[in-house]
């Protein structure tokens, strides 16, 4: 495969307009709206301001199209689109227009509006950014000026400057240091005060103490030069190191915002809309989050059940692969208990809600992401634990060095003490792990992989065994027809045409497979097509003959004399087409589960990397061995190395899967699990690292560490590479942080580091850590498999 060129990558990202056929009425639901809209009263009228994410927009020109589309709607007051953050903020009049109106207008243009999860935190972040910028400017500008005033003192010979001019310069330095101290450095003081109230010594404490000591002595030296504080002023060093520290913090803030922005981009989805029938028969489309127990929901064909409930109609056909791992539809009648997340493959039916599961996918992802960014990985916790006693040691060293120098040369004492306080940087130690992991998490998020636990990056780097589930993981949910056999009386082409025409009315996966593989042009016209959900489809052709397409029993319902040649063993679903009035015309379609195209490649790559592979599935033996065999097939000219499985197990119950995993872990293996579905949840939790391919409502009950939203198994290989690179960077950072402190503190104690150099060193040390971590968020990591 050719290496992706820069242009190719850009072109691939610049996807252009989408086809948007969403009905955005769910965004008008006030419950949903308040998540991304604020209402204010302006000049007596009510105004609403909404922030939404624009999907499909990648440049400024697209921004124009979106702006034009929204502005056309009457009642829209202002539109502000940002191509960089892909967000639009619209001020509109709730009396004259609705969100869905202009959302649909944008949809017609080819871009999709989605509610912004962080609509309310965006203002917070902007405020933080603004104040950080102002502080940085104040510190920098005053530093420059104070350095100018200090310059004569450095270059003049002693006595060359008249004393009143000298005093003037010092006074001017003092005046300009005040804004730096009270406006710019206030963050350090606030943080140190917060820590002091909690009885802790935090990272800003030595910095604050150093600043205060330096300022106090310099002020005393300015106004009482003959006093005991000495006559040295440090205003230039003081402002300089405050500037360096703030510069480092500003960079970190920007880097964190970029990472958070990348994670945000995955979080936006349209909330699930459900049709609810009220007691008086009125039907209303509301957001799934507003469901309560005893609501009557009308579940449409193809919709996932939004909650647990009881069927109120007969003839319910569901795909319960979430629960059983099998995508064969299950038939239910009135009174049966149904599970949230099952897919309705039959006709619409009514459901009485008995339990509202956890919130929709959207809220689940939000909480996943929030948890990932706040949960501290093990190494980071370790670093934090070291940081606190380290700081106490630093204080003692500073006082000790100061006292020692007081004996030797009192002039230096203060400068040495301040230098020791400033130069140490436990912040580098604390930043080492989180910056690297967050950078990787952000980069993975851009590629569509959600990282739920940052700690999982460390574990992933150490994994030596990977266990795969079969259905839905190595295979797609869809079936495909492997072969079609028909009787001599029925030409195969006609069999396909009839089957395709019949199957169109059914939502069964087998029917969908047949429809996909038949040519719609040759479909004959059929009358009286009827979908007998769960069993098959029937219809009459132009000659009036009745055809049945479906299971063996349904197909031979009126034609029991179909010859037994028709039946043949097959390790997958089978569908029969039989003419009810002429038993000699029959056809059989043997269906296979579709393997994911990158499954074999991924397995081979993992094997080549030295990992052991296992396949554990709840499905029957024939199906599992069939899949394992097909994974070994390849149409490459040179046969690749066969897959060596550690274990291939079929018919495993969840308990058996769990026991298997525990056995491996007890023998010292670090096990990763790739699966999906509720029945895998306990096994996913037991595994050291868990992956799931994010699809449909399964996400709600997902406990996996990584969610691969694109469904590409090949991402696993890339993720392992990323995890190993992350751990390498983390180790580099930790080594740097330790070495820096070990070197810098003695230097400061020996008096070789003037305070300004100490400030520079401190800022640089944490900058080095942050910059090293940002290496992980670029495209330096080769994306090994992108199929």
């Amino acid at each position: 495969m050719a290496e992706p060129t820069a242009f190719g990558t850009w072109a691939a990202e610049h996807r252009g307009p989408l086809s948007v056929d969403d009905d955005f009425t769910v965004l008008d639901d006030p419950f949903e709206q308040q998540a991304f809209t604020t209402q204010t009263e302006k000049e007596g009228t009510l105004q609403a301001q909404s922030t939404l994410v624009v999907q499909g927009m990648y440049c400024a020109a697209c921004a124009d199209a979106v702006t034009a589309a929204i502005a056309k709607a009457p009642g829209v007051l202002t539109v502000d689109v940002s191509a960089a953050t892909r967000r639009v903020t619209v001020t509109w009049d709730p009396m004259r227009t609705r969100v869905s109106t202009w959302a649909r207008a944008v949809g017609d243009t080819g871009y999709r509006l989605l509610p912004a999860a962080d609509a309310h935190t965006l203002t917070e972040r902007m405020r933080e950014g603004r104040s950080a910028l102002l502080r940085l400017f104040i510190a920098g500008f005053c530093t420059m000026q104070v350095m100018m005033y200090a310059w004569p003192d450095y270059v003049a010979a002693p006595g060359e400057i008249p004393p009143d001019i000298a005093k003037l310069l010092r006074l001017a330095s003092f005046v300009l240091t005040l804004p730096v101290l009270f406006l710019a450095a206030s963050t350090f003081f606030k943080a140190a005060w917060r820590d002091a109230k909690l009885g802790r010594i935090g990272m800003d404490t030595p910095v604050s103490v150093g600043i205060i000591v330096a300022f106090a002595s310099s002020t005393a030296a300015t106004f009482y030069p003959t006093g005991s504080w000495g006559s040295e002023v440090w205003f230039d060093s003081l402002t300089m190191f405050i500037f360096f520290l703030l510069a480092g913090r500003y960079w970190e803030l920007k880097a964190r915002d970029r990472t958070a922005g990348a994670l945000d981009a995955i979080m936006h989805r349209l909330p699930q809309a459900v049709l609810v029938r009220a007691a008086d028969g009125r039907e209303q489309l509301i957001s799934a989050r507003r469901l309560v127990v005893d609501d009557t929901v009308i579940v449409a064909t193809g919709q996932a059940l939004p909650a647990d409930g009881i069927a109120l109609d007969d003839d319910v056909t569901l795909d319960e692969s979430l629960l059983t791992g099998e995508s064969r539809p299950v038939h239910h009648v009135t009174g049966d208990g149904l599970i949230a997340g099952s897919l309705n493959v039959g006709g619409p039916f009514r459901l009485r809600v008995t339990q509202v599961g956890r919130d929709t996918r959207f809220a689940a992802i939000v909480s996943l992401m929030e948890r990932a960014s706040t949960e501290k990985p093990r190494l980071a916790q370790l670093a934090d634990r070291i940081a606190s006693p380290f700081l106490i040691v630093v204080f003692l060293l500073a006082i000790g060095a100061g006292l020692v120098w007081w004996r030797i040369e009192p002039q230096q004492a203060l400068s040495v003490a301040v230098a020791v306080l400033i130069v140490t940087c436990p912040c580098a130690l604390s930043l080492a792990t989180p910056t690297a992991m967050l950078a990787t998490a952000g980069r993975l998020a851009k590629g569509g992989v959600l990282v739920r636990r940052l700690q999982a990056l460390e574990t992933l780097a150490k994994v030596d065994t990977v266990v795969f589930d079969k259905t839905g993981t190595l295979t797609h949910d869809q079936l495909h027809v492997a072969q079609a056999v028909s009787s001599p009386a029925l030409p195969t082409a006609r069999a396909w045409a009839l089957a395709g025409a019949l199957a169109k009315v059914s939502a069964h996966p087998a029917s969908q497979a047949i429809v996909k593989q038949s040519d719609p042009v040759v479909h004959p016209a059929l009358s009286a097509r009827e979908d007998h959900t769960g069993r098959g489809v029937s219809g009459r052709d132009a000659e009036g003959q009745l055809w049945h397409l479906g299971s063996w029993s349904f197909a031979t319902a009126n034609a029991p004399s179909v010859s037994s040649v028709a039946e043949a063993p097959w390790a997958g679903p089978q569908v029969y087409l039989v003419c009810q009035s002429d038993a000699t015309q029959w056809a059989r379609f043997d269906l296979n589960e579709t393997l994911r195209p990158d499954a074999a490649h991924t397995l081979r790559a993992l094997q080549a990397a030295g990992l052991s592979l296992a396949l554990v599935s709840g499905d029957q033996n024939a199906a599992v061995t069939a899949v394992a065999d097909r994974l070994n097939e390849s149409d490459l000219p040179t046969a690749p190395e066969p897959l060596r499985w550690l274990r291939v197990q079929a018919g495993a119950s969840p308990q058996e899967k769990l026991a298997c995993m525990q056995q491996w872990q007890a023998s010292g293996r670090v096990v990763a699990m790739v699966g999906d579905g509720v029945n895998d949840a306990p096994v996913l939790a037991q595994a050291d690292v868990s992956f799931t391919l994010g699809q449909a409502a399964a996400l709600v009950q997902n406990r996996a560490d990584y969610v691969i939203q694109s469904g590409q198994l090949a991402e696993i290989v890339a993720m392992r590479t990323a995890a190993r690179a992350t751990m390498r960077v983390v180790k580099q950072n930790l080594v740097w942080a330790l070495c820096y402190n070990v070197m810098a503190v003695p230097l400061a104690m020996l008096g070789w580091l003037p305070p300004w150099a100490a400030g520079l060193g401190m800022a640089l040390s944490s900058l080095v850590v942050v910059v090293n971590a940002t290496r992980l968020s670029g495209d330096g990591l080769a994306h090994t498999a992108k199929l």
Binding site: A84, R130, L134, I165, L169
Partner: protein, 45 residues
């Protein structure tokens, strides 16, 4: 060298004034989306 008294005092006041102006610029949102400034030329109006 007495002129320094005037010059240094003026410079201090000037610095304070410049910082005030920058503060106004930041809180007025002028520096919020620096990356979009380059794109403004592409807008129709």
């Amino acid at each position: 060298m007495d002129i320094l008294f005037l010059l240094v005092s003026i410079s201090v006041l000037l610095v304070l004034a410049i910082m005030a102006v920058f503060g106004w610029a930041v809180y007025n949102g002028q520096l919020d989306h620096l990356d979009r400034e380059g794109e403004r030329i592409l807008h129709d109006d």
